[in-house]
């Protein structure tokens, strides 16, 4: 039931916005097509502007991951998962989460294939995936779009949010699904 409602909302959201906004603009006497093109041009320029930032970040993350350095890091952190009473299988997912959206989705999918979506690991992986964000990607793209190179404390805040999200995911899953 809930799933059906959520599904309906998510499939209607975009058509709804595409209808309501231009209609509203037209009623407010905005030259809708010309205005659209004007805004679209800005969108194009922005997308091109982030290329150098994204190349820099994705190359570093990809080398880190492909070399096997990420696996060493997750092995080194195993005592930490024991402390939090979580299965160590989800660690690579937690480490990868801030860096790569597609990478982490692959990992979550793999965990669910291996252990089943309704196993503890499968549920925990789902909650972790749904809780946190690809902080590095977001920071790179958003700051890159305006040419900002010094991110200040935004990295610390973003990563702290991710770590908090993981710990909270482990806590709630232990409480509900164990």
């Amino acid at each position: 039931m809930l799933f059906t409602i959520l599904n309906i909302i998510s499939s209607w959201a975009i058509p709804f916005l595409l209808l309501v906004i231009p209609l509203y603009g037209y009623l407010k006497k905005v030259p809708v097509y010309e205005t659209f093109v004007e805004g679209a041009e800005e969108g194009f320029i922005t997308a091109v502007k982030i290329i150098p930032f994204l190349v820099g970040m994705m190359v570093a993350i990809s080398v880190f991951r492909a070399s096997g350095a990420m696996e060493y890091l997750s092995q080194a952190l195993i005592p930490l998962t024991n402390l939090l009473d979580a299965p160590s299988e989800v660690l690579p997912l937690a480490i990868m989460r801030p860096m790569s959206g597609s990478g982490v989705l692959g990992m979550a999918t793999e965990l669910m294939r291996t252990y089943g979506p309704d196993s503890f690991i499968g549920r925990l992986a789902s909650v972790m995936q749904g809780t946190t964000d690809t902080t590095f990607f977001v920071l790179t793209v958003y700051f890159g779009s305006v040419g900002i190179k010094k991110y200040g404390y935004a990295i610390i805040t973003g990563l702290t949010a991710d770590i908090t999200g993981f710990i909270a995911s482990i806590y709630i899953c232990n409480l509900l699904f164990r």
Binding site: V55, M58, V138, I148
Partner: protein, 197 residues
């Protein structure tokens, strides 16, 4: 901060690959990722153009400011350095709403628009302003009401109850968001970290 993280990712990857005797993966990964990054941006071009075009209409029609007016009491507390009437407020609200609904492809363009508006208020154009840091703290920790992708994956593996994770997700993100906003507030008001390099 970012300089160090970037260097560590790159250098530790190269050292580990060298010690493992498979240095050639570095070249492959680096070149592949460089190409991939451009592909990601190209995928974004059309979507960005579409949403920023639509948003421009919403902006000119006054819809964005109307939205910002409704949430003003909250927004002025979160963003004291942004004038309440500023277009950045509307863009931030649109971005966070799209995030909550799980509309990732609409959220990114709105977010970039918000950053551009915030940049017009920024005194030091290559450093993040406090308002930008607050916005990103909210953005990266934002609640998703419909984690559609992961629900889809669960469904495809035959989960008996694919949406049972929605409640726990909202619980965990609420905590993460509270911590992120509090930490950001602390940085913004109390610390010498306000403008680190």
């Amino acid at each position: 901060m970012l300089n160090i993280i970037w260097l560590i990712l790159l250098a530790s990857g190269i050292v580990v690959a060298a010690l493992n005797g498979n240095i050639e993966v570095v070249t492959e990964a680096a070149l592949g990722a460089a190409k991939g990054a451009v592909e990601v941006c190209f995928d974004l071009v059309g979507v960005m153009a579409l949403w920023l075009g639509i948003m421009k209409i919403a902006e000119k029609g006054g819809l964005v400011t109307a939205l910002a007016r409704v949430l003003r009491p909250l927004m002025v507390r979160l963003f004291p350095s942004v004038p309440p009437q500023h277009p950045a407020m509307g863009a931030i609200i649109l971005n966070l709403s799209a995030n909550m609904l799980g509309l990732g492809n609409a959220a990114t363009p709105f977010g970039m628009k918000a950053m551009q508006e915030l940049q017009t208020l920024n005194q030091n154009s290559d450093e993040a302003s406090t308002a930008m840091c607050t916005f990103l703290a909210l953005n990266t920790s934002c609640i998703t009401l419909i984690p559609a992708t992961i629900i889809g994956v669960r469904l495809s593996f035959g989960s008996a109850n694919p949406t049972e994770i929605v409640g726990p997700c909202i619980f965990a993100t609420s905590i993460a968001m509270t911590i992120a906003v509090s930490l950001d507030y602390w940085f913004r008001t109390h610390s010498r970290w306000r403008r680190p390099s």
